[in-house]
């Protein structure tokens, strides 16, 4: 079972770095979207569209980013689907973990 994988100290460091980088990329994407929304409007009242968008993104992001080791393979698989984690970011993890992440990352049912 995915949730029974053991993580060595070295793997935990690699996972944490990949996770943090993905999160930063996620936030950068949201920030750029907000910039575009703000550049594309002439009506100041559209600021509430930005607020609606950010509220939605906060909820989605909170649901998506979960660093419990019991779910991390699944989280990484989804981040790979979204292009926020690449195989090279996982270099140093056990090969069986990498394979599971890639399998989830390419599973069309999870799109």
């Amino acid at each position: 079972m995915i949730r029974d994988f053991k993580w060595s100290e070295r793997e935990k460091k690699i996972a944490r770095r990949a996770y943090d980088r993905a999160y930063e990329k996620e936030c950068a994407g949201i920030l750029n979207e907000v910039k575009q929304m703000m550049e594309g409007t002439k009506d100041p009242r559209d600021i509430w569209k930005v607020e609606d968008y950010l509220d939605k993104k906060r909820m989605e992001t909170n649901a998506k980013y979960d660093y419990r080791y019991s779910v991390l393979i699944l989280v990484f698989g989804k981040l790979m689907q979204d292009g926020l984690i690449e195989e090279k970011d996982l270099s140093g993890l056990d090969q069986d973990k990498i394979e599971r992440i890639k399998a989830i990352g390419s599973d069309p049912r999870l799109r």
Copy 2:
């Protein structure tokens, strides 16, 4: 009592225009603040500070803008305090309404 003031059709039009303009200025101020927050940061994760700020402003703005005629004198007085309505915007209202709005607008206890 302020809430017992009668509003003629002509006054309603003037009031609506002043109210809408103040609201647009309010939103423009919030939009500019968000732009500055976003220009002043290098960490994409600060996008959540923008969300916190906008959530707070939405609540404040919802509480501040209330177009019921029973409270409009008070609302206009506060908007005058905030520099979002000027005496000239009220031109055409009954003089007693204008005086009450100005009195509220300059009342230090309401700051």
